[in-house]
């Protein structure tokens, strides 16, 4: 009988070392990583096994067969991917050579992701500023914010702006973290594969995820009610 469990990721997706350590700790408890999604990781219950996990960043979302072959021959099994992050594992007893033996060279693998996240953060920030201006205009242009609050028709736009604001903040965080990691690697500092993932910050982050999920719910509810209202209007 196969036994699978889902767990909320304890840290933001761009934190490579923390995830590697988390997967290793789970394997030590007999839970082996099978799949990693946006928020949840799927583990399969099995025998406890000391296993190393490494996350490799690629320039493409798909990993090439040549790369898979080379890694496999070096003792690294492909596990799963999420976006540009690819997870490989190797049992300790195999004593496989590290995937990356040269941090400065590894920095090059982050170049494309770094640029992409940077661009996302910029576009997001510009869009957010425009939205804030627009919403501010609705509230304050005719100098009757109380009336607008009572009438409530600006509420949805305001809520949407807050939600988008949170998303943009996350993308900024991602861009800054990956930039910092790339700089560290370039200066010869390798990734800490045993970065502690159990911390107060991790707890807060997981709460933030629940908050995000809640936001999605609220958001869809608002769109739903908007739709309903329109329908009533037509009737």
């Amino acid at each position: 009988m196969k036994n699978t469990v889902r767990k909320l990721r304890p840290s933001n997706y761009w934190r490579i070392g923390e995830h590697e350590c988390w997967f290793t700790d789970m394997a030590n408890k007999g839970y082996h990583l099978k799949k990693m999604g946006l928020h949840f990781a799927k583990f399969e219950k099995g025998e406890t096994k000391k296993t190393k996990y490494r996350i490799d960043v690629s320039t493409n979302k798909k990993i090439s067969p040549e790369q898979l072959q080379l890694y496999a021959e070096s003792g690294w099994d492909y596990v799963t991917s999420y976006q540009y992050f690819h997870v490989f594992s190797s049992p300790n007893e195999r004593n496989a050579l590290e995937l990356h033996t040269d941090p400065a060279e590894q920095a090059y693998t982050l170049k494309k992701l770094d640029k992409k996240l940077g661009l996302n953060a910029w576009i997001g920030t510009i869009a957010l500023v425009l939205m804030i201006c627009m919403v501010a205009a609705i509230w304050f242009l005719d100098k009757t914010p109380t009336l607008i609050l009572l009438e409530g028709f600006a509420l949805q736009q305001t809520l949407l702006t807050i939600i988008i604001g949170y998303t943009v903040l996350t993308s900024l965080q991602a861009a800054i973290s990956i930039r910092a990691l790339r700089k560290n690697l370039l200066s010869g500092k390798p990734i800490d594969h045993d970065a502690p993932w159990k911390s107060i910050i991790a707890l807060i982050l997981s709460l933030a995820y629940y908050f995000q999920l809640l936001q999605h719910l609220v958001q869809s509810f608002h769109f739903y009610s908007l739709q309903k209202r329109k329908q009533k209007h037509y009737l």
Binding site: R54, D56, P65, E66, Q67, Q69, L70, Y71, E73, S74, W76, L97, E98, L99, H100, T101, D102, A104, E105, Q106, Y108, T109
Partner: protein
């Protein structure tokens, strides 16, 4: 960053050196260890990164490609760059001779 003729990383230098004889994947890793007299053990991630970058820069090219296995060879530009780097490193060593007195 395209290669601009400056100092090479150790990984680049040894991959080029090993590719003086066309080679592929895992065997290439072993060739690098051999050509560095066991001093350099290059991880597969590092090797793959160096290979794809140097191919883009035209320092190496594909000699054979059957989908799964790609055999690489050094190009004329690559060999020129490698010899230049070799001469630079040799000059560095000669300059260091005063340390041996």
């Amino acid at each position: 960053m395209a290669y601009n003729g400056g100092p090479m990383t150790e990984a680049m230098y040894y991959v080029l050196l090993a590719l003086m004889h066309p080679n592929h994947g895992y065997q290439l890793m072993q060739a690098i260890t051999a050509v560095s007299n066991g001093r350099l053990k290059m991880g597969p991630g590092t090797l793959y990164g160096v290979l794809s970058r140097m191919q883009k820069d035209g320092l190496i090219s594909l000699a054979e490609d059957d989908g799964r296995r790609k055999t690489y060879q050094i190009t004329e530009d690559g060999e020129h760059a490698l010899r230049q780097e070799f001469n630079r490193l040799k000059a560095l060593i000669l300059d260091g001779k005063i340390l041996e007195r």
